[in-house]
Symmetry: C2
């Protein structure tokens, strides 16, 4: 058996899969402080005889194998989780090898191998939820370098009608600060799921997301872009974003047909859990 | 012997190296129309008995091995070069296998293997000259996807003192349109090399370049950024850019020490030629 944790800001999804990667059990545990959440997570796995564990976690994380704080959640504003030694804790308690990456890297890895990115060499997964983050595969590998990317915090040009200051605690009006769920809620006085389809919020949202996708395209040139997270449940955003990306590409860039280029996750809400399972599988197979 | 071409907007650099990658001969041929330039290039290589040729070229290019127009320069505004079948021409005339990529991908490949990026897993090379372009290595591989990146054309927030419209024929005020050599010349009425070190041009230039580097860092997280091209001969730009990048990183990102993070090319003007030689070498060794 293989284990997976998708550690999110609001909930932990814990999953068990067979060695071939089929998820057979899944539970959700609320993200509270580590002392409350982690014992429940451990309890779930302790009966299961897993041979390896994959973790996709909210960050920022230390993903540098040589670092002393490898496997830690580092500077998160989330109370209790700062400097939490995630890998070490799991390794000690479960006595299995652990693979560790960001939630969005796990999600793109899942979609790349078993979802919308199958049979490609590259793709990008972006989540638009409580925060915004993205992970990318290029040349069949997850992109890391000095650290993991922080694609949700790029700066953008403002929409001419937008005077909202933004809510990112670090940058105020970066992509996340202008376009994640909490920004929508604060700017318009109600949550995204309560705003009607013809509300100006959506044209503005598409403006920011299309602009961000264009930066990713210019820098990474992915073959496909997969958009997930709570806000993207608003399916009418997809045609809006596609048409704005097409407009931005103009006659400068030739892109794949938009309907196949910018798509929802094929694995629905399981992209991250599946990616973490695959990471666990790859430990076992020695990659 | 191995051959290399670094095809630039103003000149072709053609080089010959030994099988172990030591450059032993190098010539420059002006970039005119193909009918003028290519025969001179062929003449240089025809006497040399090369076993493989690497090309790093100005673009945009078709770098998709499966494409019918693989190896073409595609939509360049440069007269005569649109749809030039670069790989096909060289293969037919020289009867050797040919590796083909963008000028900046060749440059980053050269620096990664033999220059400032040696012993890393990732790095980025940006040239600031007649145009702006960048290539990146992540996980020891050159990044491609749907096509090659076009990092010089990202959009930026304007400097508050800048009312120059920009000169990019596609986007007007993208990075290249605001910060490449011709933009400096047009904005200030004289070429960059004539502007004194304390001219406000340089603070503005650093503002745009630092902003661009921060987008690259957030999206790719390279371990090192190598800055080349004519404009970067202004060495005083390095400290200006480093301090602005540090400011933008703030307490959100921890980056490597700036003096080692943002650096000039170790191979001086040979980054591209060396990268093209290595590409030729890799054909021979079957990678
Ligand atoms: N159907 C919806 N339409 C618009 N916004 C939504 C919808 N569902 C959730 N959201 C917003 O998305 C955010 C939650 O994102 P989600 O991806 O569900 O969780 P998380 O990012 O915490 O893992 C909240 O700000 C919420 O208001
Ligand atoms: N020392 C310098 N200082 C500032 N700008 C320079 C300098 N040398 C060249 N440039 C500018 O850089 C551009 C040429 O870039 P370069 O990298 O030399 O060639 P190319 O990009 O055509 O291969 C021109 O716009 C030129 O004005
Ligand atoms: Zn931010
Ligand atoms: Zn442009």
């Amino acid at each position: 058996m293989l284990g997976a944790i998708e550690a999110g800001g609001t909930k932990f999804v814990c999953a068990i899969a067979t060695e071939d990667g089929t998820i057979i059990e899944k539970v959700q545990i609320p993200t509270e402080i580590p002392d409350t959440t982690i014992p429940k997570v451990l309890e779930f796995f302790q009966d299961q005889r897993i041979s390896a564990l994959g973790i996709g976690s909210f960050g920022p994380l230390d993903v540098h194998p040589d670092s002393e704080t490898y496997g830690f959640i580092t500077s998160t504003p989330k109370p209790g989780w700062i400097n939490f030694p995630f890998v070490k804790t799991m390794k000690e308690k479960l006595q299995v090898p652990v693979a560790f990456d960001t939630d969005v890297n796990a999600a793109v890895w899942g979609e790349f191998h078993a979802g919308a990115g199958k049979n490609l060499n590259s793709c990008l997964y972006i989540t638009v939820g409580t925060g915004i983050g993205a992970g990318a595969v290029a040349e069949r590998k997850l992109i890391h370098g000095w650290s993991h990317p922080e694609m949700g915090h790029i700066s953008l040009r403002r929409h001419s009608d937008d005077h909202f200051p933004g809510v990112c605690p670090y940058h105020r009006d970066c992509l996340e600060g202008l376009a994640a769920g909490p920004a929508i809620e604060k700017r318009w006085g109600q949550k995204g799921d309560a705003l009607p389809v013809d509300h100006p919020a959506w044209e503005m949202e598409a403006h920011y997301l299309a602009q961000a996708l264009m930066q990713y395209v210019l820098i990474l040139s992915p073959e496909k872009i997969i958009m997930g997270g709570g806000v993207m449940k608003q399916r009418h955003l997809f045609p809006l974003i596609r048409s704005k990306v097409e407009q931005l590409a103009g006659n400068f860039l030739t892109l794949p047909a938009m309907d196949t280029f910018i798509v929802p996750p094929a694995l629905k809400d399981d992209s991250g859990a599946m990616g973490a399972i695959l990471m666990a599988q790859q430990i076992n197979s020695g990659n």
